[in-house]
Every structure is written in C-alpha cells, then in structure tokens.
C-alpha cells in the first residue's frame, strides 16, 4: 500500500472504487462494465487534473515521499555489475553516501549518490541520507579513482543537506564540501549529476559539480528547505508552502534559471509508482548525456564546465 499524499486522495479513492466494482463483476453475475468504463474515464480526467498540475509544494511532498526510489534503486535498475566500495581512508565509512564501480551498457563507470533509508532502521544507519565529512571524502576518493582510470562518473543527488552535527563540524564539514566542489571542477572525465529527490543546499552540491545536471520532474534543489526559508522570512515555518513557491526550487524553475540541463519526466503520480519505468526514463537521458560528452577532449571538458558555471547568475551595472 503506497502512502497517499493529501492532494491525491480523490484519485486514490476513485481508483479504489473502480477496483471494487471490478471485483464485484468477477464475483457476481452483474455486468457493471458500463459503469466501470465511465468511472475510468473520470479517473483519467481526475489524474490529469491532480498530477499534471502539481504545485511547488506538491512536488516537495513527492520529493519527500517515503517510498520514493533511492540511489540504490536506480543503480540496480540502470547499471550492471555494481560493486559498492567503502570508506574515506581517513576516518570511517559514511553510509549516507553509497559509491562504487559498475558497468553502464558494458562501459565502466563510477556511480555515487546520497542514500536514504527505506525504513526507520535503515534511516538510522544511513543518517537519513545526511552525510558527514567522511561521506564526501569517500565520494571524492572514488571520483579521483574514476579520473585515474578514465571512466565517467554518475552522481545521484538526494539529501536534505549535509548533517548539522557537532562531530561533522569538528571533522571539517565545510572543508569537505568545499574540496569536493573544487576537485570535481578539475576532473577530466565526464560527470553527470541527476537530482532524484531533495537537493538540499551545500550537502547536495558537494556531489553536484557536473557537466550536465538533470532533475527528476518532482525533485527539488534549494539553498534552504521551504520550512527554513519560511522561518527566516516570515518567522513561521508553517508558511513553507509559500516559501516553496517564492524560493523557486522545482525542476522547472531551475530549468528556467538555466541551472538544470534537462527535466526528466516522471511516471504520473510520482516515481514511486513504477521504479523500473522511472529508471528507464533516467536511462534515456543519461545515455544521451554520456554520448554527448564523450566527444569532448579533456581540455574541452574543463573549459565547458567552467563556462557552464561562470554564466549562472545575472547582474547589472549601477547607473552612475
């Protein structure tokens, strides 16, 4: 049973009614096919109304859906021979980030991503997908390895943010994030980043310096959570829904701002409704990306990466 979000209740209810009628038809001799057909048409219309017009806040809810597919779900659907590798060689192994080598259509790649848990127990182990410095340092270690062996890197972004903890600060959360930004800028292999859930601030960015950045339709990327923004702006975290709009955090917003390359369409009703189907849509975009980046020389790769980020952010000149 999928968890139902408030705005999709009418859809789920109607869908349930149709199921019931279908069951009734099978069990009894009644012919309800006409009623069923009418209802199915109404369902189609209702789904369009609800899912094709999601508000920014609805998308936040989708991005946070407890059953939303995680990095490992996509890794297992899109890649073969995935081998997870552990540890930063300095302090420990942070399970809020998974990383390893794999094959993508028989080509070697390195895959890295934030990893949430599917239940409370796993979430505790994975710290709800909120990394410590050792997580970012593990990621960097394996990116450098990919660079050495000349294989492309794919990053899945899915975190509320870097963990705000005492130990994280002591071990240099800032430095770990900063170093990843800088070192990723210098990688001479193609880097493709895909935001699959929440892209929370610097903690997301630390896996996010790519040649291409794509976002699932219902994912978000933001400098601060809508709740945090509302608390700062209006001293009221209950106004998060408004903040979700004001802060421009949806995939379509980021596309418009020129930050994101492609919005990857989602299965109607959210990626969690069909993980395999969603993986296929990601796969398509990933293939195009890697295909396109393959033709660039190392120098071209670095230069276009610089140009990509240099142009983000408008400014003007003060009239004298």
């Amino acid at each position: 049973m999928k968890q139902v979000l408030d705005f999709e209740k009418p859809v789920i209810e109607l869908r349930g009614k149709i199921e019931e009628l279908k069951k009734l038809t099978q069990e009894s001799e009644m012919d309800l096919s006409e009623e069923i057909e009418t209802l199915e048409q109404r369902l189609e219309k209702l789904e369009e109304d609800v899912y094709d017009r999601l508000t920014p806040w609805n998308r936040v809810q989708m991005a946070r859906h407890p059953e939303r597919p995680t990095t490992l779900d996509y890794i297992h659907s899109i890649f073969t021979d995935f081998m997870e590798l552990h540890g930063d060689r300095l302090y420990g192994d942070d399970e809020a980030i998974v990383a390893g080598i794999a094959k993508y259509k028989n080509q070697p790649v390195t895959v890295i991503g934030h990893q949430r848990g599917k239940d409370t127990k796993e979430n505790l182990r994975r710290n709800f997908g909120m990394p410590h410095p050792e997580g970012y340092r593990k990621a960097l270690r394996l990116m450098k390895q990919a660079d050495k062996f000349n294989r492309p890197i794919v990053c899945f972004i899915d975190t509320k943010g870097a963990y705000p903890g005492k130990a994280a600060e002591e071990r240099g959360q800032s430095e770990a994030i900063a170093r990843n930004l800088m070192e990723m800028a210098g990688l001479t292999v193609p880097v493709v980043c895909i935001v699959i859930g929440e892209g929370g601030s610097g903690g997301a960015l630390a896996l996010g310096v790519g040649d291409h950045i794509h976002m699932l339709e219902n994912s978000t990327y933001s400098v601060i959570s809508p709740e945090g923004a509302a608390a700062l702006l209006w001293k009221d975290s209950n106004l998060a829904q408004n903040a979700a709009e004001t802060m421009k955090i949806t995939s379509y917003d980021l596309k418009e701002l020129g930050i994101v390359d492609k919005v990857i369409p989602e299965i109607r009703g959210g990626a969690h409704r069909d993980i395999k189907g969603q993986a296929k849509k990601i796969d398509q975009v990933l293939q195009e990306s890697l295909e396109g980046l393959k033709s660039l020389s190392k120098e071209e790769l670095l230069e276009t990466r610089w140009e990509k980020y240099k142009k983000i952010g408008d400014y003007t000149t003060l009239p004298l």
Partner: protein
C-alpha cells in the same frame, strides 16, 4: 564560576552578543564585548579595531581592511558598480539592497581589486558583513570569480578576507551555485600554480565557509572568529545537547586541524609578506 575559568583560558571565545551591544553613545564611544571596557572609537581604530585592553578583535570593514594592508594609493578596484538584478523577483529585496548601499557606502558585500602589500602586487577580495550580512548572491560570486581569474591571468597571488553568513537567501539556488562558480575558478588558479591565501574573519559560515573560504593554499582565521558550516542553534536542535562555548571559534577549528593558524591582526601583514616572499608572484619558482 566555571565561566570564569573558561574566560581566563580563552580570551577570544566570547562572540558579540546582546550583552556586548553598546548602551553608550554610538559613534564616539565603544563598549568592548570582550572586557566590557568603554573607550573612544578613535583609540580602537588606531589599534586596527583590536581592543587595547583584552585583544578582542572587533570587525574591520572592507575599507579599513584594505587601508591597513595595502600601500597607499596602490589599490585599483574591479567591478565596483556591479549590482544584483533580483533574479527570483523576491519581495522587498531591492529595497533591502538599496538600504544597505546607503548604510554601508558599498555596492555589494565584497570589494575586489588589486593592490600592493609591501611591494607585492596581489589580487584581493574583502567581504564586508555590513552589507546583507556579507551573504553571497550572484554579484558576490561573480566578483570573486572574476578576481580569481584576473589573478590567474596576471600570475599574481589571490588573497581573500571572508566575512559572511553564507548564501543569500533572496537569490535562492542561484546563490548556491556561486559556491560552485568560485570553486571552479579556484581550481583553475591552483591548476596553474597560483597562490591563494584565505583569511577567515568574523563570521564565516554556511556556503562561504563551505566554498572559497576553505580553499586557500593557506587558510588562516582571526582570533575569536565564528567559523562553521551549520548554525549553532540548528546543531543544538538536531543533536539535542548544548554545545561548548568555544564551538566553531577560530581556536576550536585550529584545535581540530581545520586551520593553518589563528593570526592576530597585528601580525597579519608580516605573515602575509612572509608567504608572498616565499612564493614570489604567482607562486612560481624564480
């Protein structure tokens, strides 16, 4: 009692707080948050804004910083009139910018340019916390990235003084991307052997701490400066424990291996000169 012991051990750990706010006439006199003594502002300014009694480092604004470090008339400012466009159409943002421009005499939260420190030509960026708490939006990111690029092209060192609450919320994810922009610029500088020195001043937090502030060949901080990624209150709420008083101070970071050194403002120019002389312009061997 415990507090007294702490205070003796760490002169600089206490940060500006409500107690420190002056109940004395503003402008002429100043009350020191470090020792609670009241003295003339002039006296403080003559001492590079360091308390003559307790060594508390009061903030220096960008102009004071440049004046205290650079040879007279050697400064050439870059991108001076670059200002924000309010990219998200954020309510009341333009008014806030205008207000800060008036209040601080600055056009944005950073001044960039080049000048001479004891004969050594350097590119320099100085952030100023009086402007939108030194937060980084598109203009701050662009000015810093431009300054780094200019240093790379001219093969001169790049020195940055950070003072910032982090990313500027009113520019949303665009401000976040300035962390990337500046870091990519630094990567290009380092790749060509350029020298970068970062001096973190009070406060250096959030996205600024997690990007260029931490990416120097040398990372220093001023005594007592607040430096960290996440805010103290958020951490306390998350881990449900009280944090030590010196948490996220420059001294705390030094102890945990996150800084090359904590440098007293009176020693700063000498230290910079030494590093510049050791590396020669551009960081090349000569």
């Amino acid at each position: 009692m415990l507090r007294d012991i702490f205070n003796k051990k760490r002169k600089y750990a206490s940060l500006p707080n409500q107690e420190g706010k002056q109940d004395v006439p503003e402008g002429l006199m100043q009350k020191c948050p470090g020792c609670n003594k009241i003295y003339y502002r002039k006296e403080l300014e003559r001492n590079l804004n360091v308390c003559p009694h307790c060594d508390y480092h009061h903030q220096q604004n960008a102009y004071e910083r440049l004046e205290s470090l650079l040879e007279k008339d050697s400064f050439e400012e870059w991108d001076r009139y670059m200002v924000s466009t309010n990219p998200l159409g954020f309510p009341e943002y333009e008014e806030k910018l205008e207000k800060d421009r008036k209040k601080s005499g600055l056009n944005e939260a950073v001044i960039t340019g080049k000048g001479k420190i004891r004969g050594y030509e350097t590119a320099i960026a100085v952030m100023d916390a009086r402007f939108r708490m030194g937060s980084m939006g598109a203009v701050v990111g662009e000015k810093i990235a431009n300054a780094i690029e200019q240093a790379r092209k001219e093969k001169i060192p790049f020195i940055i003084f950070t003072a910032s609450g982090g990313a500027r919320m009113q520019e949303g994810v665009i401000s976040l991307m300035q962390m990337t922009k500046t870091s990519v610029a630094i990567q290009r500088l380092h790749a060509e052997g350029g020298l970068m020195i970062s001096v973190m001043t009070h406060p250096t937090t959030g996205g600024v701490s997690a990007s260029f502030a931490s990416l120097g060949d040398f990372n220093f901080a001023e005594p007592g400066a607040l430096i960290g990624f996440a805010g103290r209150r958020i951490i306390e709420q998350t881990i449900r424990e009280k944090l030590p008083e010196d948490f996220q101070t420059a001294e705390f970071l030094l102890k945990h291996g996150q800084l090359d050194d904590v440098v007293h403002r009176h020693d700063l120019k000498n230290k910079l000169e030494t590093i510049l002389s050791i590396h020669q312009p551009g960081g090349e061997l000569s």
